[in-house]
């Protein structure tokens, strides 16, 4: 069973690592221009289907753009959104959670209320409204998701800090006369990093899925950028005749999010067993 669990962790790490490499080296990997349209070569099927060509391994989309190249550049967008959102929301959430958990009392009540209020706000709806009102761009999507997805970071950081605060070494730091910011940064933060790493994977997966949903609804990453969600949206009119047009970006999204979740699950199990032994 342990082996199975580690296998999950490894598979997750391989998927995420692979996507990251693809994202970084996209200009080298993509042999075609993801933006070059050629209306005479529209909706060419992938190479393994009848009528496909090795020129366009995954075929072309409704505007004749190379699907593989778009897919490769799409990995960039997903990874960028995932990582940047986690950085933004992580910074907000951890700061709130640590402050609430560390100081307790009134401050903690306020933090807890902020979390409750945030949870009651419909996520996708508000994200859509913001992007629609401010105008769609990569930065706006990242900022919007970052400002919305901090709740789980705050919850976990708050609870972990509460547990850490009562431990001996923090008390020792207090009695050694360390200042509050110093204790927070040097004693508390390093010790709550591992549960936060698990949250980070979950939030990254969620951010990638949300970006895809926003782009699918036309209020995420603006065209002609090759976001996987946008690719599905653009292809959906053709899905009844050539289903592969939605399968290719959809399965990529699935695989990436699955990989991230496997990684998170593996980390969680690793941390759990690490704590008991």
């Amino acid at each position: 069973m342990r082996a199975l669990r580690n296998a999950g962790l490894c598979v997750g790490a391989v998927i995420v690592g692979f996507t990251l490499l693809v994202a970084i080296f996209a200009p080298i990997l993509a042999t075609q221009d993801p933006f070059a349209q050629d209306l005479s070569r529209r909706l060419i099927v992938p190479f393994w289907m009848e009528g496909g060509s090795t020129n366009h391994l995954l075929g072309t989309d409704q505007l004749g753009r190379d699907y593989l190249a778009r897919l490769i550049y799409g990995a960039r967008i997903s990874m960028l959104i995932g990582i940047m959102t986690v950085v933004t929301s992580g910074a907000i959430g951890v700061a709130m959670g640590v402050i609430g958990g560390f100081f307790g009392g009134r401050i903690d009540d306020m933090i807890l209320f902020a979390i409750t209020a945030r949870l009651s706000i419909p996520l996708i709806l508000v994200a859509l409204a913001v992007v629609s009102l401010v105008g769609s761009s990569l930065t706006v999507v990242v900022m919007t998701l970052g400002l919305l997805l901090w709740d789980r970071f705050a919850v976990v950081a708050r609870v972990s800090t509460m547990q850490i605060r009562t431990l001996d070494f923090v008390a020792a730091a207090w009695s050694a006369g360390c200042s509050r910011p110093r204790i927070l940064l040097r004693e508390v933060l390093p010790n709550i990093l591992s549960p936060l790493a698990v949250v980070a994977t979950l939030e990254m997966a969620l951010a990638i899925l949300l970006e895809a949903a926003l782009s699918f609804l036309g209020l995420g990453v603006p065209p002609p950028l090759p976001s996987w969600g946008l690719m599905i949206a653009e292809a959906k009119d053709y899905m009844f005749f050539s289903p592969w047009v939605i399968m290719v970006p959809g399965l990529s999204l699935c695989a990436l999010v699955f990989g991230i979740n496997l990684l998170g699950d593996g980390l969680r199990d690793l941390l759990k067993t690490g704590r008991t032994t």
Partner: protein, 305 residues
Amino acid sequence: MLHLLIRRLAVAFLVCITVLTFAFALTRLSGDLAISIAGPSATAADIEVVRKAYGLDRPVVEQFFDWVGRAAVGDFGQSYFYKERVSKLIVDRLPVTMTLGLVGLGIALLVALPLGVVSALNEGRVIDRVISLVALLGQAMPSFWLGLILMVTLGLKLGWLPISGTGSWEHFVMPGIVLAFSAIPALMRLTRSGMIDAMNADYIRTARAKGLSRTSIVLKHAARNAAMPVVSIAAVQLGFMLGGSIVIETVFALHGVGFLAWESISKNDFPTVQAVVLMLAIIYTLLTLGADLLNALLDPRLRAQ
């Protein structure tokens, strides 16, 4: 119990006030609403007319209190796009979204509870791992994409279910399945961990020592205690599903509140957007409140407080 209830109600009230402010601030994000409403081809004079007509020339604070005052009595103003009362629009479309949400939750519970229990009873075995893996895979599927896949397979290829619209109960099956997918992993995990905790509890050993049947031990003694956190999370998930229905209603062209929200967002119909945000937040708050009360009924220790 009463004390708890009052506290929870107070928090719920404060949350509503906060969301009210938030919803108002949200629509002011773009800077000048009058320009958005008038549209790209409007002249400066047109914009001035719009500004006057919608009262956007007043100070923001005045606009805010005007809105809060009306919202408090259920008046969310006139929709710019639909030319109807916003409250009527929402009331007309709420049944579709509620039906969708309940169908989704029903399917999710129907799948998640048995899987969670089976997983818990086989903790650490292959079947447990397989179930977690399948849940993880389900979690990884973008809902809109799953919706499209179902439309192609169940709708077009197999012809079992209608592809879009709201004509009959069959129209709710596919969107319900898609919506359920988002809630299944969380529900299943919680059922599993709750059942594992319960099955390891001392009172289960007592129940076994009493010679009770396996069925009675699992379903009566363990499940009752595992149910409490599941009730809470089910309410939360229903709230999320209603919020997430915006994507699914758009995919399946179900004319519910989500579809309304999407249309009003794309038409810059901000009174409707504000009202839907607020309404979904209130429903979510009521759902969690209801779950707490239900838990208090389920747990005699809470009931006594």
